[in-house]
């Protein structure tokens, strides 16, 4: 192995294909996003350099502010929902005493393998205010709680966040199950000998040892929330009005519906920066104990 690492030429040739693909498919387009954000560009030709004008307009845009607020709500909602439920479910399912573990494990994961479009259509049918299952259910049990679930300007974003959280909770659940399985059984036996209850064992052993898993889960749900698009696009088209816009939707609208690609790229640049900031903050929060203490 040492001999391999000393062969710089081999390292160069083995990493070259991946580097090339990454540069062409990821790095170059992202660079272009930043470059084009300084242009007045309609998607064709080379555009006109206008400096920070797109950013000035963006920061004055009321929809930009709303999009950021929505992204924050969406991210926090799905993060809390998914991580809490995934933790509880994975702890329950990993317990050998739980009956029907296999069925539960598959059930929690089924929404993940479904197409987002299918899930959105399913929830659209359930949430329809005239004939939807949910309102009919309330009606059937005599509750006067008929709601315009997706037409309420203040709550539609929560409803959409719920649909996303419902679908992807299973993914976080699978990650946590894998994390729990990787914890040696000896730790639990030691905890049992020390008189720890199941709850205490999970608190003192399982959760702390799932730190890296939580880090991944947080990164996925927070960045996923900030760049949310699909559910809004399918279920509400960013509406009612622009009540469920996110930065990604704003970018899509500016670039592909208004042909203001420069403005759309400015929005995308902010999105990229937000995602990088989230990753850096999470890494800082989850840094090793030694680093925290400055050792």
């Amino acid at each position: 192995m040492k001999k391999f690492y000393s062969n710089k030429l081999a390292i160069f040739f083995f990493t070259l294909p991946a580097l090339l693909v990454f540069s062409v498919m990821v790095f170059y387009p992202i660079t272009q996003v930043f470059v084009k954000s300084f242009y007045d560009w309609n998607g064709l030709g080379s555009g006109t350099f206008i400096g920070f004008e797109n950013y000035v307009k963006l920061f004055k845009d009321t929809v930009f502010k709303l999009s950021n607020k929505n992204a924050l709500i969406f991210s926090l909602f799905i993060t809390i929902f998914q991580i809490t439920l995934a933790t509880v479910f994975s702890l329950v399912v990993s317990d050998k005493r739980t009956k029907g573990r296999n069925i539960l494990r598959v059930s929690y994961f089924i929404p993940v393998v479904l197409s987002v479009t299918v899930v959105c259509q399913l929830w659209l049918a359930i949430l329809n205010s005239d004939s939807g299952l949910l309102n009919q259910l309330f009606k059937a049990v005599g509750l006067d709680y008929q709601q315009n679930w997706l037409s309420d300007r203040n709550h539609a974003i929560y409803v959409i966040a719920f649909v996303n959280a419902w679908q992807w909770m299973g993914y976080q659940f699978a990650l946590m199950m894998a994390g729990i399985k990787a914890i040696p059984n000896d730790y639990y036996e030691a905890a049992k000998i020390d008189g720890a209850s199941s709850f205490m064992a999970h608190r003192k052993v399982t959760i702390p040892l799932l730190k890296e898993t939580y880090k991944i889960c947080l990164t996925i749900s927070l960045t996923g929330g900030v760049k949310a698009f699909t559910e809004m696009f399918i279920m509400t088209k960013g509406g009612p009005g622009n009540a469920t816009h996110t930065l990604t939707y704003l970018m899509y609208k500016a670039a592909f519906r208004e042909f203001r690609y420069g403005y759309g790229m400015a929005s995308a640049s902010i999105l990229v920066l937000q995602c990088i900031a989230i990753i850096l903050i999470i890494n800082w929060l989850f840094r090793d104990k030694e680093k925290k203490e400055g050792k």
Binding site: L150, P240, F259
Partner: protein, 456 residues
């Protein structure tokens, strides 16, 4: 056993993935639609000078070419004219083969990508907003000469000349649809059943809505998931105060805070809060909303005049259209001559970089003309751009006859949402009029956002 099962499943998934990734569908469509053309393709190629002299009857050119065409082909309204045009093309241009690529419902994104990558089809259907973009980047051919040489220009109705020429005086697309109209449909049977007279003023409209709601009938179905219809609804209201409607704002000749637009917004807010539309208005698509009207669950419906054929087929004599209600009797009468809708210089355009650009332009003109014929003959609409020598297969629906009879009285039309040229205003108008369907969204908020979009 398990291994075999897993292997089998993997193979099936891989195959389905490969099938999904292939462009078989596109090819099939092409094959189907060009079948007639291919059959009639002759193998002989002759010198063009000679062919001009010896063209068989009905044949316009023997030039050989395969042209890529990007066109709508999704429902009877688009399939019937296209198929008819291809059939006729096989006679007039026997050596021209069309490869159809079905237009995506994507706000023109695919066409933009084609233009950006230098891969535009030879002939493509284009909207006005894209023409402006393509003009700047040299992706669209000026068709003035071809329009003259083929006689297309002379066949355009005088009343439709506005949709032939671009603002700069050139022809960039061969239109086939004439000026079209936003029509306020109503179910006569429901109105009669509940003793409601056709409303002429907003007060009467609100009273009618109350009666229908009290009898579990949705006063008016709207497919609010689509922005163009909510924009049309707002335009219908705005034109009662200012005949310019949304077209005036798009042309930069008016501002959002003018009285007409404020009053229209306030009226829309009032109507929404009075429960004129169904509860799920903001998320209802066309199928859902039209089904409500056609099934008799809703008393009124807003759509283009092209809905007349389908409405008559389902509701028969029970369906009719009314003039748009207005704020008082006098404006109602005056407003009978002011309609929402219109046309634009859009249609079949040609890629100037096409290997067969001139031939493609001739074919585009030919197809547009045949579209007009098919629309008159098979789709029950006389509202086409060209004066074609075609008779309808069956009589026009009574509603169309009625509309046709009042066409000469119409003095002003606006624009359909998709004919607006200011992209930012267009999307804001769509989003904001959809927002107006929410009860607590105020007219002030609407006007502010509309004003912001016009200022950009």
């Amino acid at each position: 056993m398990k291994r075999f099962l897993a292997l089998g499943l993997s193979l099936v998934l891989t195959m389905s993935l490969l099938v999904g990734c292939s462009n078989k569908t596109e090819e099939t469509t092409t094959a189907e639609t060009t079948e007639t053309t291919t059959e009639t393709t002759t193998e002989t190629t002759t010198d063009s000078a000679e062919t001009e002299e010896a063209l068989p009857e009905g044949v316009l050119s023997l030039e050989e070419a395969t042209l890529r065409i990007y066109a709508q082909y999704s429902d009877d309204d688009t399939k019937v004219p296209y198929d008819y045009a291809v059939e006729q093309l096989a006679i007039a241009y026997p050596n021209v083969k069309l490869e159809l690529e079905v237009q995506a419902q994507d706000d023109g994104q695919k066409l933009m990508t084609y233009a950006a990558t230098g891969n535009l089809p030879d002939i493509f259907q284009v909207a006005l907003a894209q023409i402006e973009n393509f003009k700047e980047s040299g992706n669209i051919m000026a068709l003035n000469d071809v329009a003259k040489s083929t006689g297309f220009e002379d066949k355009v109705f005088e009343s439709a000349k506005n949709i032939l020429y671009n603002e700069d005086g050139n022809i960039y697309a061969f239109p086939y649809a004439g000026n079209e109209y936003v029509v306020w449909y109503y179910n006569k049977a429901i109105f009669e059943q509940y003793g409601v007279a056709v409303p002429t003023t907003y007060d009467e409209l609100l009273a009618a809505a109350e009666t229908f709601k009290a009898n579990d009938i949705v006063p008016m179905a709207i497919f609010g998931a689509e922005g163009w219809i909510t924009a049309a609804m707002y335009d219908v209201l705005a034109t009662r105060w200012d005949a310019g409607g949304i077209a005036k704002l798009d042309d930069g000749k008016g501002t959002a805070d003018e009285e007409a637009y404020v009053k229209a917004a306030e009226m829309m807010h009032t109507l929404v809060n009075a429960g004129l539309f169904q509860e799920s208005a903001t998320t209802s698509n066309y199928d859902q909303a039209s089904a409500m009207f056609l099934n008799g669950e809703a008393a009124m419906f807003l759509n283009g005049q092209w809905f007349m054929t389908d409405a008559t087929a389902t509701l028969g004599e029970n369906v009719d259209w009314m003039y748009y209600p207005s704020y008082d009797a006098a404006s109602y009468e005056a407003g009978k001559a002011v309609w929402s809708g219109g046309g634009a210089a859009a249609g079949y355009a040609v890629n100037p970089n096409s290997e067969h650009a001139t031939l493609a332009a001739e074919v585009a003109a030919f197809i547009s003309e045949k579209y007009c014929e098919a629309k008159v003959m098979y789709r029950g609409t006389p509202l086409v751009a060209l004066d074609v020598d075609a008779e309808p297969e069956t009589e026009f629906p009574a509603m169309m006859e009625k509309l046709q009879s009042i066409l000469p009285e119409i003095t002003s039309i606006t624009k359909f949402d998709w004919h607006l040229t200011n992209g930012t205003f267009k999307t804001t108008l769509e989003d904001q009029t959809k927002y107006m369907l929410v009860k607590d969204y105020t007219a002030e908020e609407f006007i502010t956002e509309l004003g912001n979009s016009l200022a950009q």
